[in-house]
């Protein structure tokens, strides 16, 4: 595994770079705002994608999107691949993007001696998310587009409870 970074990195700037790199090809030239501390993950958006990194660090990444923006992300991906546009593909695209961002974040935060485990990505529809027991630091960066907002949350330690509402 020789691609693991050896130097400590500033988590906020590393994540912002990852977010910009991962979403920019799909949503033109908008920029994510700098990460700012927030007290909770809100407001609830239409769809949430989350992935956790556990090991020497315990981090959860949560992406909360308006549906129209998520749909545009899906369209951009599937049109290039000649696939159907539907809600299943929307979840698959979000899962894959989340997985890749989580994987890259893992590479940033891991060292040769300290491996970090990456969870599977989870997608929640109309999920209500709240902080779990204990002290949880939550930071948010937002991407505002004409189709809606994408809030990216950086949660440490990774203690959150998701409640899916229909």
């Amino acid at each position: 595994m020789n691609q693991i970074a050896q130097q400590p990195v500033d988590p906020d700037s590393a994540l912002l770079t990852l977010l910009q790199k991962s979403f920019q090809p799909l949503i033109a030239e908008q920029q994510f705002s700098p990460f700012q501390s927030v007290s909770a993950i809100e407001p609830t958006r239409d769809i949430c994608a989350m992935i956790s990194l556990t090991g020497p660090v315990s981090i959860m990444l949560v992406f909360a999107l308006d549906h129209a923006l998520a749909w545009r992300l899906m369209q951009t991906e599937v049109q290039a691949l000649g696939l159907d546009e539907n809600e299943e593909m929307l979840e698959a695209v979000l899962g894959e993007i989340t997985n890749i961002i989580g994987g890259n974040a893992t590479a940033q935060f891991a060292s040769a001696d300290n491996h970090i485990h990456l969870s599977l990505p989870f997608i929640f529809r109309a999920a209500k998310v709240r902080a779990g027991v204990g002290e949880v630091q939550i930071k948010r960066s937002s991407l505002c587009t004409g189709l809606g907002i994408l809030d990216a949350y950086f949660v440490s330690p990774a203690k959150l409870t998701f409640t899916e509402s229909v």
């Binding site: 691609q3 691949l81 894959e96 485990h117």
Partner: protein, 121 residues
């Protein structure tokens, strides 16, 4: 020389489509796509591909168990794992199970081509 036959296994339809597109662009005949480990084992027996790309983390039967089952059917099976950072311990398990190598996501054509060629040697 015949075009090598490739089977791709991933529970994400997006990744399957991307891998197919990438593999075809570097000269492989993608003969089969499987979205689960159990489907992959059945399809492997039917298609007898020259090489397989295998996702590690799949819902249900994971890629490591799928490698084991395919290697029981064909001890010479050539399987390249497709993985993310953060799955290093699983990669090691897959290599012990008989995988020939691994390629990191996001997968690019050069990296895929190099790893598949190495597995086919």
């Amino acid at each position: 020389m015949a075009i090598p036959k490739l089977m791709c296994v991933d529970d994400s339809p997006i990744m399957l489509a991307k891998l197919k597109q990438l593999a075809e662009s570097v000269g492989y005949d993608v003969c089969g796509l499987a979205q689960s480990g159990s489907d992959a084992v059945k399809l492997y027996q039917q298609l007898e591909p020259d090489v397989v790309t295998m996702d590690i983390t799949m819902v249900g039967q994971d890629g490591i168990e799928t490698v084991r089952q395919i290697r029981v059917i064909d001890p010479d099976a050539r399987i390249v794992m497709v993985t993310s950072h953060g799955q290093e311990s699983m990669v090691l398990q897959a290599l012990k199970a008989g995988a020939k190598g691994y390629v990191m996501k996001p997968v690019d054509p050069d990296s895929l081509s190099a790893h598949l060629a190495r597995a086919l040697k």
